[in-house]
């Protein structure tokens, strides 16, 4: 094992990347089940690697890995520190939990002859997300961002069997996502123009004397807006509701839990490692752009969610609101605020993963997730709906769930910054979440069942088991938050420590 350990950073990305073309080979003979097993195995290997990397950076020091032995800043550097090791663990962990759920869900929702290509795209998407997170090279981020985005468009479009609107959703996301990525690469280009480097650590150093440079400022603006678009910051969120609604259940689970979080991570990386709050224009952006947009997102997302009639769309809008919480923590740029953002990256992945997985179970049995058809479902699918409600409690932020942990720190952050009216707004927007979760309780438990002639069965165990793993994690990390808060504090202190 010893000879593998130093190469873990590159294996984290290389294994799924190589696995993707291998997966295509299963087309010969049509081994759909093998392709799924293969993807599952790859996901678990990635998860183990991410676990090993996280424990190493937490217990030891940051890892720097030079691809092809070209020393940074000349070659591409993979750099693992607590924050990206944490995000790597979230991505690969969600993938590892979601894949056992995937087989039946994919079997039901996607045309049979496309399964193997579906898993291939999934592996590419995983590669892209892991690559964006692990790399220490700004241009490499763009490359992996494109890998994950292109495969995401394909994955969303496979929802066409359920609803043909998946195609326009994918197309809209393609246009907007490409604009986002282009803005990002323009920003990188502008920074390259003045510094001549693409390595993130090097970039940070060389930008220090250039704080008044107009080009640097323009580059910053392009990167912030580009990433804001990718992470669905209100009002640049318009691609998200349709994409989440019409994508196959597995894709929604995976994207909702990981993809926007990776963009949040990249934004954090540029805001705090490359630039940092000591730059005036960064502070002004926090105060005049991110803070107001975050607050508007919290309310606009939740209010829109209340009036949705499709459960997936409802939770998609709720994601817009939740991303508002994350951006609020960034905009506060103090320790509890940033901790809240980092905690929420993890916590939100757990709750949205559980919620969309529960909806995947509903989709499997019912073929639709419109609220109108879910009447009285609490009686015929008690485990699924129970999980949905528990996940909803976590989303609201009931004490004992992970949602409470993030909101607690977020409120502490606003109080520390002296913005106590914002603390009230956070509580008020949580009340809006109570309303839309209550809508589901009402539909599932208080209304009479509509389709009594056909008896609905509970979802199969292979779908319920991963779902309940996520639900239990929602409560476990809500009660014992030592590990997550430790990582979050560690990261928040590094981000802010060097600067102020």
């Amino acid at each position: 094992m010893n000879f593998i350990m130093p190469h873990l950073p590159v294996l984290q990305v290389a294994i799924p990347l190589i696995a993707a073309p291998i997966c295509v080979l299963f087309t010969f003979g049509g081994h759909r089940k093998v392709a799924w097993l293969f993807t599952l195995a790859v996901s678990w290997v990635c998860f183990l690697i991410a676990g090993a990397l996280l424990s190493r950076v937490l217990l030891d020091t940051d890892i720097s890995y030079a691809i092809g032995n070209w020393p940074p800043p000349f070659g591409i550097e993979y750099r693992v520190d607590p924050i990206n090791a944490f995000v790597l663990l979230i991505i690969s962990g969600i993938s590892a939990i979601a894949l056992p759920f995937a087989r039946l869900s994919v079997e039901k929702e996607i045309e049979t002859d496309r399964h193997i290509l579906f898993y291939t795209s999934y592996l590419l998407c995983l590669t892209g997300l892991l690559g964006v997170t692990i790399t220490g090279d700004a241009f490499n981020i763009f490359v992996f961002l494109e890998i994950s985005s292109l495969s995401t468009y394909v994955l969303i479009a496979t929802g066409v069997r359920q609803d043909r609107r998946a195609l326009t959703a994918a197309y809209n996301y393609l246009i907007l996502g490409t604009i986002g990525a282009t803005f990002f690469v323009i920003g990188i280009g502008l920074l390259y123009m003045v510094t001549g480097t693409l390595n993130i650590a090097d970039l940070a150093e060389r930008l220090q004397p250039l704080s008044d440079n107009r080009v640097v400022h323009a580059g910053f603006a392009f990167i912030v807006i580009g990433m804001g678009l990718k992470l669905a910051l209100f009002p640049m969120h318009v691609w998200l509701p349709n994409a989440y609604t019409y994508a196959p259940s597995l894709v929604t689970v995976f994207l909702a839990a990981t993809s926007t979080k990776v963009s949040v991570y990249v934004l954090l990386r540029f805001l705090f490692t490359v630039f940092g709050p000591s730059y005036d224009f960064v502070n002004l952006t926090f105060e005049f752009v991110l803070l107001p947009l975050a607050i508007v997102a919290m309310f606009a997302g939740s209010i829109t969610a209340i009036f949705q009639t499709n459960a997936k769309r409802l939770f998609a809008y709720s994601s817009v609101a939740q991303l508002g919480y994350m951006m609020l923590g960034v905009a506060l740029s103090n320790i509890p605020g940033l901790m809240a953002t980092i905690l929420h990256i993890f916590n939100h992945a757990l709750m949205k993963g559980a919620l969309f997985m529960a909806l995947g179970c509903v989709m499997y049995r019912l073929g639709t997730v419109s609220l109108g058809s879910m009447k009285g479902l609490g009686r015929s699918m008690p485990w699924t709906m129970g999980a949905l409600i528990l996940g909803g409690l976590s989303l609201i932020g009931v004490p004992g769930t992970v949602g409470f942990i993030s909101k607690w720190h977020l409120i502490l952050g606003t109080l520390e910054a002296g913005f106590w009216p914002i603390a009230i707004l956070i509580v008020a927007s949580s009340l809006l979440a109570v309303i839309y979760i209550w809508k589901i309780v009402e539909v599932a438990y208080l209304e009479k069942e509509i389709n009594q002639e056909k008896t609905l069965k509970e979802a199969p165990i292979s779908m319920l088991a991963p779902l309940w793993v996520l639900v239990i994690l929602n409560f476990y990390f809500g009660i014992d938050a030592d590990l997550t808060t430790w990582v979050a504090r560690n990261v928040a202190e590094t981000f802010l420590g060097g600067e102020s």
Partner: protein, 570 residues
């Protein structure tokens, strides 16, 4: 294992009740019925077996939560809550409740008891919320449209108060770094918010409406159980954290007076009792505001006896509702012939409520009034005396009179079921025992009692008050029935004064309620306006919910880019 046992035992009795609520769901119907009665009785014995101490300290984040603080104050409230839970569940046996309602009753009592024993504000908040959520099911279990709507309004008030409490405790925590639940006062950081939260829960004037709105809409046993916990939990919390806060004296005085006027004109007898509940809470709030040892003792003992006699009165009205199907004073009467036991128990409750000597109310209410006098609050003293007379009028006379003695409306019904009679009997027994042997209650109070209720002065003073109030009732009753006879009765100016005051009250009340309605309608208008505009924004064709054309999204993106670029010049 021993370590686990050391942490868990002794566990807060409220948590046992909440666990019991889950068990009650799983047990078969008959077993579950008795389980709900026996569990609180068992927990009373458990409570007496413990010494006063802090138990169950666990760590959460970096803070230690005291989940079971047993001191004199929390013990007396925990005890009466357990008694109320046992009596309420016994009473519910006669009402044939379903499992949901039984478990809700257990979880509600459990939440309230666990909150009483909470030594820190986080635990307090959590169990406050458990009690709020569990209790609403007692209202919804009535399964009528009205009950659902009233339950919803109730829940909004309760959760709203919970949110304000949370905000207050976060501010308190962020400034002081302490989550201990002890004396706060208005000057403490977050003190005002926390007071508002407790104030809503204890039905301060203007935020009291949830009480009269929701409680009478609950099921028969649900109202009995609801009457015991939420408001008295808030009284406990106020007594612990705001003793001696002067503004509470005046709030309490308004609270003691205002509901009386409503109680007089209300027809639904259970609703009359909730107004009277509100007015009794006013006495307790005054006691907390005065804050001397005697006033606090008075408040605590009044809370104790008040839970008993209010539950007793509501039980008797519940039995009437169960048997006759109505609880409106105008449709009842003459039931003493067919429900003699219920009538007798109701009279015991009424006598206790009106503080007749030898009944429980006498030994507690007079402590508060005396404390007000001793501290020189003469206006308050007079207001409380007037309020006492009002209590006699609406709880003491009106309730038993209309239900059992007024003109026979022809109901020929059976006596109440035996579990209800036993529960009422037990409550009545306790009312009398405490009234005759007040020392039994005084011994449990947090401060030593040197107050003697049975002095000639107190007894005569109270009897005078009661007799004159009774006289007034009789006279008014006669006048109402025989308006032409008024000329023949030779009464003093006193009569003009009382009649004038009465009509003044009725008229002013009419205007008050019109004004109140105008304000309410205005508020409802504004709120529905807000909801409508939110709906227009958020529903399927709304601007937030539509998928906009790509062009307009790109325009937004460019606009934002421009904004960030222009910030350089800011």
């Amino acid at each position: 294992m021993t370590a686990v046992a050391e942490i868990l035992l002794p566990l807060n009795p409220g948590i046992w009740l909440i666990v019991g609520a889950l068990i009650a769901v799983l047990l078969p119907q008959t077993l579950s019925r008795w389980f709900a009665v026996i569990l609180p009785v068992f927990l009373i014995a458990f409570l007496f077996s413990l010494n006063l101490d802090n138990y169950g300290t666990i760590s959460f984040f970096d803070y230690s939560l005291e989940t079971f603080r047993l001191d004199a104050l929390s013990r007396v409230f925990g005890l009466i809550f357990l008694i109320a839970s046992a009596l309420g569940n016994l009473y519910a046996l006669g009402d044939d409740v379903d499992k949901l309602q039984r478990s809700a009753a257990l979880a509600y009592a459990g939440g309230a008891i666990a909150a009483v024993f909470a030594g820190d504000m986080i635990t307090l908040f959590i169990f406050f919320e458990v009690a709020a959520v569990a209790s609403v099911f007692l209202i919804w279990a009535r399964r009528t449209e009205r009950a659902f709507a009233a339950g919803m309004r109730y829940l909004i008030f309760q959760i709203g108060a919970g949110v304000i409490l949370l905000a207050g405790l976060l501010i308190h925590f962020s400034v002081t770094g302490s989550i201990n639940f002890d004396k706060l006062g208005l000057d403490a950081p977050g003190g005002i918010l926390i007071l508002i939260a407790f104030g809503i829960k204890s039905a301060f004037p203007l935020v009291h409406n949830w009480l009269q709105d929701a409680y009478p809409e609950a099921t028969i046993s649900g109202t009995v159980i609801l009457s015991g916990f939420t408001t008295k939990l808030a009284i406990y919390a106020l007594a612990r954290s705001y003793a001696g806060t002067e503004i509470l004296i005046w709030i309490g005085a308004v609270m003691a007076i205002l509901p009386i006027f409503y109680a007089i004109i209300e027809n639904d007898l259970r609703r009359v009792l909730t107004y009277s509940l509100n007015n009794q809470l006013g006495f307790m709030v005054v006691g907390i505001g005065i804050g001397t040892e005697m006033a606090l003792n008075g408040t605590i003992s009044h809370a104790f006896v008040h839970i008993l006699y209010k539950a007793l009165l509501l039980m008797s009205m519940g039995a009437v509702l169960l048997r006759t199907g109505t609880c409106n004073g105008s449709e009842l009467g003459g039931l003493v012939k067919t429900m003699p036991w219920t009538a007798a128990f109701c009279i015991v409750g009424a006598a206790s409520a009106s503080a007749f000597p030898l009944f429980s109310g006498f030994i507690s209410k007079s402590m508060i009034i005396t404390a007000a006098g001793e501290q020189g609050y003469w206006i308050i003293w007079l207001i409380l005396l007037f309020a006492s007379a009002g209590v006699l009028y609406h709880s003491g006379i009106r309730i038993p009179y209309f239900a059992f003695f007024s003109e026979d409306k022809g109901h020929r019904v059976k006596e109440a079921p035996w579990p209800m009679l036993v529960a009422m009997g037990a409550a009545a027994f306790l009312c009398i025992i405490i009234g005759v042997f007040p020392v039994s209650l005084y011994a449990m109070l947090p401060f030593s009692v040197d107050y003697v209720p049975y002095t000639a002065y107190h007894v005569i003073n109270q009897l005078q008050l009661l007799m004159f109030a009774a006289l007034a009732f009789t006279v008014l009753k006669l006048i109402k029935i025989y308006p032409s006879d008024t000329r023949g009765i030779n009464l003093d100016t006193d009569w003009v004064y009382r009649k004038g005051l009465m009509s003044l009250i009725i008229y002013s009340n009419r205007y008050l309620s019109t004004g109140y309605r105008v304000v309410c309608d205005g508020a409802v208008g504004i709120i529905s306006e807000v909801i409508n505009s939110a709906k227009q924004l958020g529903n399927n064709d709304g601007i937030l919910s539509r998928t906009p054309a790509l062009g307009s999204s790109i325009a937004w993106i460019s606009g934002l880019l421009l904004l960030v670029l222009l910030l350089r010049f800011a």
